[in-house]
Subunit: 200 residues, 2 copies
Amino acid sequence: MGETSIERGRSARARLLTAARELIGELGWNAVSTRTLAERAGVRSGLVHYHFDSLQALLRHAALDEVQRMLEGTSALLAGATSPSDDIERMLFDLDQYNGSDPASLLFVETYLAATRDHELRQGMSALVADFRRSLTEALTRSGHPRPQAAASMILAFFDGFVLHKGLDQGLSAEHIAPLLRRITNTEESRITNTEEDGE
Amino acid sequence: MGETSIERGRSARARLLTAARELIGELGWNAVSTRTLAERAGVRSGLVHYHFDSLQALLRHAALDEVQRMLEGTSALLAGATSPSDDIERMLFDLDQYNGSDPASLLFVETYLAATRDHELRQGMSALVADFRRSLTEALTRSGHPRPQAAASMILAFFDGFVLHKGLDQGLSAEHIAPLLRRITNTEESRITNTEEDGE
DNA sequence: GATCGCCTTGGACGTTTGACCAAATACTAT
DNA sequence: ATAGTATTTGGTCAAACGTCCAAGGCGATC
């Protein structure tokens, strides 16, 4: 059967997706053009519309692939662990390797933004994030957290915000944050519900 | 002295900045063009380069103005309050009015991203965010928080992530999060530092 | 009413963009 | 070899882009 020709095609398609993954982070979603994309992938610009319906479809596909890869890797890490609290901290320290300006972090944020203006991308991202939140909620439930759902939402939002802020504040590090993150993942309800009436 | 002519100029300049503020959120930073900008402002496109050195300079100016307005308003709210914990919760509920897809929220995130690729914008944003973090840290110090700086960083990152996530997860609401946010703003160090050895 | 200065216009420029396609190429199957 | 299928090329197309500028408008000043 026809294979070598098809294999070359698959390779070119894959190189286009890789180039898109890189360039979205480097230049920004809207600044990626068919021509820069083709140059990075080592092909001619005409190929883009042979393998994909449109430039947007290519970017969508590349971004969802990468986000899925990142989230599924992390959620597998959570599923196989005994103490979710520790693993969430480990996730935080993993985040430390990104400086907030690298293509990997930026691709994530770029995709969030693009999703607010692209219905199909939004649906894909919603599904992926919902899956990950479910994993995180289950891990927190397993460890007996009193509010697993709220904690999962909060941790997710915080992690993304953390990446965002590291772009501006290079001094921001996981070390300073870890003790406070522990407050969130703590399985016991805090005794002090509020310190009201604490006038100056 | 010449006033009417100058006043007209000021008005046109202001309308251009307003249009930029709106369009950055609606279309995305890189999708704002001189022509759409001029149309929204009710002027001809040539005016953009009369009042500003370049399109990027206009966008930069508009974005920094708006971010400053937002942050200074919120930090004034913190400064005049007696119980920072409550005010941080109130800030959270204020955030609830944004659905995460409105121009105001998006302008914030768009500016973050643009700042990673524009040195001048990055410096401006860094300064504004640093100022706000200082206000927040002071408020937390005043209320006797044991780790005011780390808590401020965490709350800032979380708030931005919260806005980001609301674009995808419409069910995300401040109500569910508030009890856990209280764990962060609590002035007492948590007794339970960690719940290790919690194997199944 | 002529002059001056600032604001505004409308169009021009060279580039880049997404999309499209006929022709060329590479490989398989007959 | 031949025909057939899939991939790749190289170029064209109209549209949109940022920037620039000569000319016109318009109120204040002389």
